[in-house]
């Protein structure tokens, strides 16, 4: 499967300045074991349903396994992963553009 070209930044300062999200989804996974595998991408899907095509969703996740999960889900679903910002060892922010 073709890999999408995305911006991967290590700090917030290096996140693309053009990324102004239309909505933010903050996910705290610490209280739910296995949440990223089980529920993160369906939750993103649910949030995107509320948004218009072309709008940008920022997803904040506190589990590094999401760095594998979210890009794969974007490739499958056809939503565009614009950038992934790795804030530290666990916390990550993703910027997704809803597909048309």
């Amino acid at each position: 499967m073709e890999e999408a070209e995305i911006t991967v930044s290590k700090t917030e300062e290096h996140a693309p300045a053009s990324l102004m999200p239309d909505a933010v989804l903050a996910v705290n996974t610490k209280e739910i074991a296995g949440f990223v595998c089980a529920g993160l991408t369906p939750l993103i899907k649910s949030k995107l349903r509320e948004m218009e095509s072309g709008q940008v969703l920022e997803v904040r996740v506190d589990d590094a396994t999401a760095r594998l999960d979210v890009p794969a889900w974007c490739r499958l679903s056809g939503n565009t992963l614009l950038a992934m910002v790795e804030e530290d060892a666990e916390n990550t922010r993703f910027y997704l553009r809803k597909r048309s």
Binding site: A38, L76, S77, G78
Partner: protein
């Protein structure tokens, strides 16, 4: 035609094996992949109204929530007719999004290219 068939042959006697197929199926369905969970043996009870209520493996989301999310994301629940019949399960017993299917039906889907996975 579906792209992925996730097999499940456990009911509430094994909550983990009953839940995991719907977790994987839900991730697939939420990525807009045509997905079905194929229920066989004791798993066919999962397609019936009220059966999944209150079932939750520690560390997992509640089965009923995952099942509901799976169906709302377009996932299909297939209950094997060979297994529903001896258990007295009919279409009228089924939850929304579920139906009784035959072996030839899902074999055709697999022969046409649907991937399968089991746990």
């Amino acid at each position: 035609m579906v792209k992925l068939i996730v097999s499940c042959n456990h009911g509430i006697e094994d909550p983990e094996r009953a839940t995991l197929p719907f977790i994987v199926g839900n991730v697939s369905a939420s990525a807009d992949q045509q997905t079905a969970v194929l229920l066989t043996v004791e798993g066919v009870w999962l397609a019936t109204k009220g059966y999944a209520d209150g079932v939750q493996k520690e560390g997992f989301p509640a089965l009923s929530e995952v099942l509901r999310s799976f169906v709302s994301n377009g996932g299909e629940v297939w209950a094997c007719g060979t297994c529903t019949k001896p258990r007295g399960i009919t279409e009228g017993d089924l939850i929304e999004g579920a139906r009784i299917v035959t072996a030839a039906y899902f074999v055709e889907q697999i022969a046409s290219g649907a991937a399968t996975i089991a746990f």
